[in-house]
């Protein structure tokens, strides 16, 4: 199904055409991402995209998963990203907007993630991730 996101709230979250292939490859390449479900993969890509400041607008839209799949926690996270990105708390009233921001970061994030997974030895991504996260934790402690 192909659609355009407009200002109206949709019951779907979208990925760009071609992203599906990236997500599928991710699952194939690394067991770590297997059986997570599209929503979870989206949230991960979103985190990576945001952390790397890689927000990329979607030029094409395909429905990725139903917004009902998002938990209250997911929504709060998505809101926090939108608030930081837009610099205005009132953005959270615009559901279509906050989803768009999230989709754009996830779109940027999946590309980074795909590259990262391909650059490490098969099965060793969790180890690499663990090291990066430990560094991040120690940075926080400092």
């Amino acid at each position: 199904m192909s659609s355009h996101r407009n200002s109206k709230v949709s019951d779907r979250l979208f990925w760009a055409k071609g992203d599906k292939k990236l997500y599928d490859e991710l699952e194939e390449q690394e067991k770590f991402f297997k059986n997570k479900g599209r929503k979870e993969q989206f949230m991960f890509a979103l985190a990576v995209g945001f952390h790397n400041g890689n927000r990329q607008p979607l030029n094409t839209y395909d429905g990725m998963f139903n917004s009902r799949d998002l938990t209250p926690m997911d929504i709060s996270i998505i809101e926090s990203i939108a608030v930081q990105t837009e610099g205005n708390v009132s953005v959270i009233e615009d559901e279509a907007k906050i989803y768009r921001v999230a989709e754009e970061y996830a779109h940027g994030g999946i590309k980074i993630l795909n590259k990262e997974v391909k650059n490490v030895q098969f099965g060793s991504y969790p180890k690499k991730l663990e090291i990066s996260l430990t560094e991040l934790i120690s940075q926080k402690m400092e």
């Binding site: 770590f32 997570k36 996270i77 959270i92 996260l133």
Partner: protein
Amino acid sequence: MQIEKISLKNYRQFRDIEIVFNESANFKLHRFLGSNGVGKTTLLNAINWCLYNDEPHLTKESDVLPIVNLNTIKDSKDGDDIIIEVNIQLKSGDNRIINFVRRSIYTCTKNNINPMFKNTVLRVRYIDDEGNSIWKDDEEEVSQAVSRFVPLKLREYFFFDGERLETYFTVQSRDKIKNAVMAISEIEVLRRTENRLDEILKLYRRNSGSLSPDLKKIEEKISKKEIKLKELNKKLEGIETTLSDSINKVEEYNKNLEGLPNVDELNKRYNEYNDARKNIESDINIENSRKNQFLYDLSKILLLRGPVSDYLKIIKDKKNKKEIPVVNDKTLIQDILSDKHCNICNRSLDDNSIIFVQQVLDDIKLSTNIATKLMISESNLSVIDNMINNLNDKIKSQGKILITKHKYLTKTQQMINKIDNELSGHNQEQISKWHRERKTFQDIIIYKSQEKGDIKSHIETTTNELESMNVQYQDELKKVDKKQKYNYLIEFTKKSLNIIKNINKKMIIEVKKQIEKDTKDNFFKLIWKTTTFKDVTIDDDFNVRLIHIDDYSMLGSASRAETELLALAFTIALHNISGFEAPIIIDTPVARVSDINRENFGSSLVKLSEFTQVILLFTPDEFTTNIRKIIDPAAINKYELKLTSDEKEVILNVIS
């Protein structure tokens, strides 16, 4: 009594040889060296042949050859008589000379292959210290003379094959040991007397039955009870034999299994470790999945902690400024202002009211919708914030769990590898079979021990019953035997029987005790290990047991050398008890012993020769440089046996 000389004429490979055994003040040791088939065992057979007219150590190869020397046969004509003669010259402690001379005559036949036996005679010559000599050829006298040197029943404790020493204490040998002890105790006559007295006693009782029907009844009861007691005793004897055989069997299996892995036990443990490994691997997989899920969630949290923290900060600020929660509905006020009509109090707004409502609207920064969303997010994101604060602990505890499990897995794998190594290269089926068979005998021991207890208690009851019947019988006999004829006879026979029985028992016990003590003394005098063994015992079934310092029987696990030494110690004990001062002749004494034990055993033989004449017949294989170094300095005579080029005659070389 020592062998001074052996002359052999036409006896197998020995065509005409004289072997001298010199005397020495220190060691009475003589050694022979000869390859297999040269004539060492033939020499042992020659001694047996001379004294007992048989050749117990004959090999299959020798058995098919004639007893007459082959060259003698070749040089003889048809019809010629050939004389075979073996002369053993002994010297007693009081300087008397005794010669045992067996002479057999064979007649050559036409084809000269196997001469025909004509006759054989053993004669004895006594020479006193003044040189007076006397020949005896009466069969009984000669036989007695042989028995006074080494009785037939005891000969295998004087002239034996070293290769059989280690099987000395097996089940099959126990009866031989028992017979030897019996022979030494010389109780056979007493046994016969005991049986005869028993028969007489029964006869008197039967005859006394004619005196009264009551007496007859009691006598019949006694007879039945006696039969029962005999059966019980026989059963007990059977149980004891089975028990002792099983104990020996267990020891045999212990010996077989010495140094071998317990295959069944190891396989059981292998399977247990393998199951444990599978469980740990499965646990590790579960833990890894948990860890990955944790990493997944952690990644989102950590990568987004910036916006999450900022968002939470914003919410907190708004809360501090009392912007949330919102007390007035912004939409409702906007509607009132645009309608200029208050929907709550249902009246129109005047100018002053419009200014006031506008001011209230300006004070409301957030919509109710936003405020609600912020409140929800605050509660959701606080969870994340807490999680970030406790991350280190959680990562550490998760790491610890996995490290522990991996360590356990490594250990388990190491155990599996160890078991694999222990099992590799072994015939598992055979070992397993031995273990099963040993278990069977161990079970028999348990079962038979219980049965033995039952039978013993049964015997006790029956004996008591028999005793009370005997009292009853005596009382009845006194009443009816007015002339005291049977009473006197029966009493007398019973007393005699008891005396004989007691003497019998005491003699065996005494001899057994003495042999036990002497065996122990000899063993500890000769053994090279000083802290391994505690005791040597001989039980009522004549099972010789070697007790470890930690109090368990260890004959089954003793080395060949130790077993041989124990056999030797036992043999010397028999010598001492029997009073037969005959030499010990051992064919291939250290052939079955290896390494350091061979040398230790060699040294023990040298020690033994300090008080007993020892004649050792070595093969070159067992007569190693180290053994030579031990034996030769002590040996008075050193001989080498060789064959002539046609391999039909022995040449005796004296080694200086």
